[in-house]
């Protein structure tokens, strides 16, 4: 085995070059898939890039997906720093959306900016509440959060279907969704801003929630690395025994970490309800909660890594739909496979080429130093 002196490896090699090589490899393997499916991989790449960057609406779609992945990625990352595998982002986002809607519809007599603040708070509180129950069971009874959170995804889905069919359904319509929120409460969208500048563009779901996602990233960074809470959460995550020794309560921190995680997942509801649908539609979390796990792992659970990872998945979602539209042999599931390959290479096989690449650069730097 080759051992590399870690301290001599430049940061940009481990944090930029290695992920980039993994990504290129993943794309190469994905290209093979597309080739086997009978389409031209170069053309597919061109379509992905065109679809996600090539025109303004496409790029807006990319950023819209990125927004959702940032929320769910951050949610997973926060819990993970306390070594809790919160795979319940999907359900927490769903219930978070309920919070957004209930707050917005019931406080519609208040000024709109205040309703927005309350709705964001509602998303956080509802998402956190949904995470609290598994957290409590984990902290007091040792019921593993992986099991309980995934069960809570199903419970959330069933509960929401029940509510959307029997309780809060828009009775004038056939589908399982609520009535729309008053139009003044809708989040300003990207095309509204463009219109202000006198540029007319077509519809895209991108809205000011994107800024909320950036703010949430800063919040998570500050929380985890700059506050006593983050410090204690990490201590519990890395070494529970030591935490107890230092007087840090694992019980309290498990619950705090899970609730913050659930709250962040709930923010996805803000994007979807206030920004896009303006009502609750059945199944709106659409798997973002699960993809967020991959985003967080790829981004090494750090906001600075989560942002590009979320953006990459945004490109794949948006570019992928462009490809499936233009290439009849490529189905939507093909792109699920592509995502899988990327997760495989940048997550599971992350260390496949790391030693060789790091060695290469260390040797080169040594040569330079000698010369």
């Amino acid at each position: 085995m080759t051992t590399v002196d870690k301290s001599k490896v430049p940061w940009w090699v481990s944090n930029l070059i290695v992920p980039l090589v993994n990504l290129i490899l993943a794309l190469f393997v994905s290209g093979l898939f597309i080739f086997i499916a009978g389409e031209n991989p170069y053309e597919a790449v061109r379509l992905i890039i065109y679809g996600s960057f090539g025109y303004i609406e496409g790029f807006a779609y990319t950023l819209y997906y990125t927004t959702n992945f940032i929320f769910t990625g951050l949610a997973f990352a926060v819990a993970f720093h306390c070594r809790l595998f919160n795979i319940g982002g999907e359900g927490q986002a769903y219930i978070g959306g309920l919070g957004v809607f209930l707050v917005a519809i019931n406080f519609s007599f208040l000024p709109v900016p205040i309703v927005w603040l309350l709705a964001v708070a509602g998303a956080v509180v509802f998402g956190a509440t949904w995470a609290f129950i598994p957290a409590y069971l984990q902290a007091t009874r040792g019921s593993h959060v992986v099991i309980t959170t995934i069960m809570f995804n199903f419970i959330a889905a069933s509960l929401m279907v029940f509510l959307l069919v029997d309780v809060i359904r828009d009775t004038t319509q056939m589908g399982p969704h609520t009535i729309a929120l008053p139009e003044e409460q809708w989040f300003p969208s990207f095309e509204d801003f463009a219109a202000l500048l006198g540029i007319k563009i077509r519809y895209s779901p991108l809205n000011i929630s994107f800024l909320l996602a950036i703010a949430a990233s800063v919040f998570v960074w500050f929380l985890v690395w700059k506050t006593r809470w983050g410090y204690e959460m990490r201590a519990v995550g890395h070494n529970t025994q030591a935490a107890i020794y230092a007087g840090i309560s694992p019980y309290k921190n498990i619950i705090i970490a899970m609730c913050i995680s659930g709250g962040l997942a709930g923010l996805l509801g803000v994007n979807e309800i206030l920004g896009v649908h303006h009502k609750i539609v059945a199944g709106f979390p659409a798997g973002y909660g699960f993809t967020g796990i991959a985003v967080a792992l790829m981004g090494r659970n750090h906001p600075i890594g989560i942002f590009p990872a979320a953006f990459l998945f945004g490109i794949l979602y948006q570019g992928g739909s462009e490809v499936t539209f233009d290439m009849p042999n490529i189905t939507r599931y093909m792109f699920v496979a592509v995502q899988g390959v990327i997760i495989l290479f940048s997550g599971a096989l992350e260390n496949l080429f790391r030693p060789q690449i790091e060695n290469f650069f260390v040797n080169r730097l040594n040569l330079k130093a000698k010369a």
């Binding site: 870690k6 700059k226 410090y231 990490r234 230092a246 007087g247 840090i248």
Partner: protein, 506 residues
């Protein structure tokens, strides 16, 4: 005539920039017990891992019985008759002794003939070397001493002629050590060669016929054991003469500031581990608590520091009751009241090894000013504080941003000690302060503890190293089976007396 069975020539091994073995030459003669001694981090274990095929040397040659061999994996070593008993046993807990030994050497799909033959061979080996092992007992039912014997038996069964033992006595009771030494001697009589890696001088003097000393990755001396003595070996190990006995001033004790009455504590499995213990510690004294590992010391320390619940009895700090069955202070509240705790197991409890050094230097005090204000960590103050105390306690390297697991054992211990002593505690609970710490650091740590005592702290020292208890304590209590079985002033007590108490004989 003695003939070399194992010859190492110019062995070099580096891990990154750490040169763990530098041009090592070593000759081990057939049928001897050869000691390899050195501080922690001197490169002993690395060298033996190379011989056992776990690591590959960067350069150098290895000869067994005069033939140069190429060791790429432990399998190659086993073929060449080299066996190793590791510090941490490599046994499957829920398998029987027999199943563990034949693991990987089953030789047949459905157990039958080979198994019967293995049983017979193993019985013969057990008889020859008086190992006294029941092949059908499950590993989890066996004591540490017996598990070690299983490891020895495993190596012998696989045809080991050279048996390497890495710090074999670290986990054993004195009685088990005696048994082990008997076995090792009988192995030697049957013509096996034994390599004993240790940092305990007394074992070298007792057991070996030849000894090699390592220091900082180099072989600094070979000698016949009969031509040397403990002091000389210690000097070779650290490269200067060490004080094995500490200079310490007469004790000037003050009031009783820490008192334990009728304390009973249960462990996680609901077994009573501490039984009606009474203790009193005065300011300015070190109370040594001696005892073989597992006699309730761990649970006692955990209860006193607020980690474990008190079953019955009371704990008093400066005359005020701090803990009983109903009300108890948590570790942080006790810290605020001036009780510091250096836990027995630094990696499991004292440190978060994945944290950076500065994060560990405030661990447990992180919510206090100036480290944090309204829940926000004050990075600048933490770093400057860390730099200061790392210098004061000679933690090397002095980099607060380094991940803690990259520090050596001794320096990790200094990180904990500096953190706990820096708060000038009134009561200090110390568990195994020098376990796995090299001699230079041991001296430093002992001196710091004495300084604390002289400044008026009440110190409870829990250690399984009898030498340590004897050299530091003013008063010694012995714990056996959860009870205090004896108390002695540390003036005319002998280690023999204490040994008998520790064994529960008296």
């Amino acid at each position: 005539m003695v003939s070399p069975i194992l010859e190492l020539t110019n062995i070099n091994k580096s891990f990154g920039h750490v040169h763990a073995n530098k041009n090592i030459n070593l000759t081990i003669n057939k049928g001897t017990i050869h000691g390899i001694i050195g501080e922690n981090g001197a490169g002993k274990s690395t060298l033996m891992s190379i011989v056992f095929g776990l690591y590959q040397a960067n350069s150098g040659t290895i000869k067994v019985n005069g033939n140069e061999i190429n060791l790429r994996s432990p399998k190659d070593s086993i073929i060449n008759g080299i066996g190793m008993v590791h510090q941490h046993f490599m046994l499957v807990e829920n398998f029987t002794v027999l199943e563990n030994i034949i693991l990987g050497f089953e030789g047949e799909l459905v157990f039958g003939k080979n198994l019967e033959k293995a049983k017979k061979d193993l019985k013969n080996l057990c008889d020859t070397y008086k190992l006294n092992i029941d092949l059908n007992s499950t590993i989890s039912d066996l004591s540490v001493g017996f598990r070690q014997r299983v490891e020895i038996l495993k190596s012998l069964y696989r045809g080991a002629e050279i048996l390497i033992l890495d710090e074999p006595t670290g986990v054993l009771t004195p009685q088990e050590v005696d048994e082990l030494f008997k076995i090792l001697r009988s192995l030697k009589e049957e013509g096996k060669t034994i390599v004993l890696i240790t940092h305990k001088l007394i074992e070298i003097m007792d057991l070996t016929s030849e000894v090699s000393v390592m220091r900082q990755g180099e072989m600094v001396g070979h000698t016949k054991t009969e031509n040397t003595n403990k002091e000389q070996l210690a000097e070779m190990m650290v490269g200067r003469s060490v004080l094995l006995r500490l200079d310490k001033s007469e004790v000037k004790t003050g009031d009783v500031i820490f008192k334990v009455e009728n304390l009973t504590v249960k462990d996680d499995l609901d077994v009573t581990r501490v039984k009606k213990v009474n203790l009193e510690i005065r300011s300015g004294e070190i109370l040594g608590l001696a005892g073989v590992t597992g006699n309730g010391q761990t649970e006692l320390l955990e209860a006193l520091s607020g980690i474990r619940k008190v079953e019955s009895g009371e704990i008093y700090l400066e005359g005020k009751k701090v803990s009983d069955n109903q009300n108890f202070l948590d570790p942080r509240e006790l810290k605020e009241k001036g009780l510091a705790h250096v836990p027995e197991d630094r990696q499991r409890m004292g440190l978060v090894t994945d944290f950076k050094a500065y994060e560990n230097l405030i661990f447990g005090y992180h919510d206090q000013q100036p480290f944090s204000k309204s829940s926000i960590l004050n990075h600048r103050d933490i770093i400057s504080h860390s730099k200061k105390i790392m210098e004061e306690y000679d933690v090397r390297p002095q980099s607060p941003n380094l991940i803690t697991s990259n520090f050596s054992g001794g320096n990790q211990q200094k990180i904990i000690l500096s953190r706990e002593l820096n708060e000038k505690p009134k009561v200090l609970l110390v568990g195994q302060p020098t376990r796995g710490v090299d001699i230079g650091a041991i001296e430093f740590i002992h001196q710091r503890l004495i300084d604390m005592r002289d400044k008026g702290a009440a110190i409870l020292l829990v250690s399984v190293e009898l030498d340590e208890v004897l050299s530091l304590s003013d008063r010694i209590v012995v714990m056996f089976d959860g009870k205090i079985v004896g108390e002695k002033e540390n003036k005319n007590v002998t280690d023999r007396e204490l040994g008998l108490l520790m064994a529960g004989v008296v």
